[in-house]
Amino acid sequence: MFDEMSGSGDAIRSPYARIADWIDAVGVERLQQRSAEAEAIFRRIGITFAVYGEGGDPERLIPFDLVPRVFSALEWQHLDRGIRQRARALNAFLYDVYHRGEIMKAGIVPEHLVYRNAAFVPAMVGVEPPGRVYSHIVGIDIVRTGESSFQVLEDNCRTPSGVSYMLENREIMMRMFPDLFAGGGVQPVDGYADELLRTLKEVAPPACKGEPNIVVLTPGSFNSAYYEHSFLADLMGVPLVEAGDLFVDEGRVWMRTTRGPSLVDVIYRRIDDDYIDPLAFRPESLLGVPGLFDVYRSGGVTLCSAPGAGVADDKAIYVFVPEMIRFYLGETPILENVPTWRCALGDECAHVLDNLEDVVVKEVHGSGGYGMLIGPKATAEERTAYAERIRKSPSEFIAQPTLDLSTVPSLGPDGVGPRHVDLRPYCLVGSQMRLVPGGLTRVALRQGSLVVNSSQGGGVKDTWVLAS
């Protein structure tokens, strides 16, 4: 097991020197007090995720762990290169999917995985998005298993969430523990919103003359990530709109304001493809902006991310990303994938079924940590039942070895102890690529647990990249 503070032995690794001293100096009891304070601040500001219709508190907090997670400048350099490389390859793949389909013709990615994928949008074929960018915000989930081994667990090409926690976690830490940041040892992340705004401006549609008008499109205040939508709109100083605020007229998109209609050029949408435009996608849906997709196709507005971008972040496609990097960029992948067995393939499926007690099985289209089987933690009955599901529709599942995720010291009821973590950085893709040094660290707060999802008892941490 690799602990990021103490490595595999007892000596403190150098990036954590300051954190180790800090924990000793403040003491566990005081840390626990301050932790309650931090929670009160989050609650008061309203940094919550909404869970309506389940009873209990409808707006919950994601537990915030006070002990930061740290990367050295050198470690980050490696991650930074790997993340940018992957984001480029994913966008190249999406362009290919909706144009000539070379990678399928070359026999590298099976056609049916793409063209019969639920996230594939046939109407996008031949569409030329500004800058050929499909996924403008690429969230890449990374795990660490050793001193220098980082692997990608998952890609998120649609609308990865969580960046507001990256920003707020830092704000809270700086407010509560200013001494930790004295001397400028930690690279700032607060430029994210400005970088996002620049990215969105760079992909203005052909019809836009002059300064582009940008909006954030949210499903509304009942959406679980609503806080983040309003937070980002606020930081960028752009309107936060709902579908009902927009309409299409004369080949352009407009928003309803107290002064009448006003043009919209770029939409950072935080709603799914299915709900963008009832005319193009879901005729029975009352959500969305009728006619929006046509305007998009004819270059009257830019949607970020592009419809159909999700075809690149499917778990069945994920397996091929290292191949994409070689195919489109002619480079060696800097960040490798976690080894993955595709149950769709007979011999791989047999291997998975034979080794269920050692592997993690995931649904191909699942997300949020739901519907997984964690072999070593499951009971024999659970494994038998799950094996039955795999046999019934093998192509719906993939499996990965149970990873020995790195741990980071975290505050528990019994003091500071190691907890497993992952990392989600957010790579921005416009005419340039931008990556803020940091990301969202999710932590499995239950000792020994490997599930970091907030829906399953996970928490978050401030993530540091050291200046040198």
């Binding site: 609503y226 937070f231 309107p239 709109v241 009902g244 605020d245 304001t257 107290t258 002064r259 006003s262």
Partner: protein, 315 residues
């Protein structure tokens, strides 16, 4: 620098946010008046509660309008979330509106709206009944805190103006509806019919607007229906009077006209007519033509004004 555009939905949400807060506040004052009247010996408390329910526009929510008890008032006007005019519903809706226009609010205003929003949800009727005045004080404090946070932290832009507009429209409406329910006690002929001045009845109206002492500062005289009606309708100094509220409504609409290329709409005309009329009118004319008719006419003008605002700003 260009003026920031305001979404119509945001404007409508702000307008209603302020209306809900004002309504919660006014309803708390109405209930205070009711419980005060119910304590006076020899009076039928159900009669008082009936007028409270009527002024709150919720009479149809009570099964037996002539047998309304304090407990029923607490349930229906304070805690019942199904009743859109209950204090709990108003405060929760105000917060929900604030949440859906987060970017239009300052952090301080949001924090005040967010503070304790689930208090009434978690309160049971017995508890609320036992500490009724504590609960009502808390509600009035919410109103003051929310208004205070918006006055002291919001930019003076259209967002702020729509908040103000909603607040004053609701205030004008609540004061007029209180007068509608209570107008019979203010009629001069009551002096004769009732055989002696009914101080309690008159002061109850002042209590319902939280203005007993303010009244004295202004009139330096004993209670008289004439003065009380003057105070609630025509006073340019009392911040809950119809005249004061309408002057503020007109001011808000004029500010909107400035940021909307000088455009004026039907709502501007309606508000201006009302302001001019309230300035020119004397109490004697109102009593001569019928207080009740005047109040009812003003209520329907306010309703019309509301829909004209909807039309003008594309709500």
């Amino acid at each position: 620098m260009t003026e920031r555009l305001l979404l119509s939905r945001t404007a409508a949400d702000l307008y209603w946010l302020a209306r809900y807060v004002e309504r919660a506040d006014s309803t708390a004052r109405l209930i205070e008046m009711g419980s005060r009247m119910a304590m006076i010996p020899g009076r039928r408390s159900t009669q008082e509660w009936r007028s409270v329910a009527a002024a709150a526009g919720c009479l149809d929510r009570f099964e037996d309008p002539d047998g309304i008890t304090e407990a029923a008032i607490v349930r229906t006007l304070i805690l019942d979330n199904e009743n859109p005019s209950s204090i709990r519903a108003c405060l929760e809706r105000a917060r929900a509106n604030g949440r859906s226009v987060r970017t239009a609010l300052t952090i301080q205003l949001w924090e005040v709206l967010n503070d304790g929003w689930r208090k009434l949800e978690l309160m049971d009727p017995t508890e609320a009944l036992r500490d009724l005045s504590g609960v009502l004080d808390w509600v009035k404090l919410r109103g003051s805190a929310i208004r205070g946070a918006s006055t002291s932290t919001m930019l003076r832009d259209d967002n702020y103006v729509f908040l103000g507009l909603g607040g004053y429209v609701e205030r004008a409406d609540m004061t007029l509806r209180l007068l509608d329910v209570k107008s019979y006690v203010l009629l001069p002929e009551m002096d004769v019919v009732g055989g002696g001045r009914d101080h309690h009845q008159w002061t109850s109206v002042l209590h319902a607007t939280g203005a007993v002492r303010t009244y004295h500062h202004l009139y330096h005289a004993d209670y008289s229906p004439w003065n009380i009606a003057d105070f609630l309708i025509l006073s340019s100094k009392f911040p809950r009077s119809a005249a004061f509220s309408y002057a503020k409504i007109l001011r808000c609409l004029e500010l909107l006209s400035e940021t909307h290329n000088g455009e004026e709409h039907a709502c501007h005309r309606t508000a201006r007519d009302m302001v001019v009329r309230l300035k020119a009118l004397k109490m004697g004319e109102i009593f001569r033509d019928g207080l009740s008719e005047f109040v009812r006419g003003s209520i329907s003008t306010t309703q019309r004004l509301n829909s004209e605002i909807y039309e003008a700003y594309h709500f």
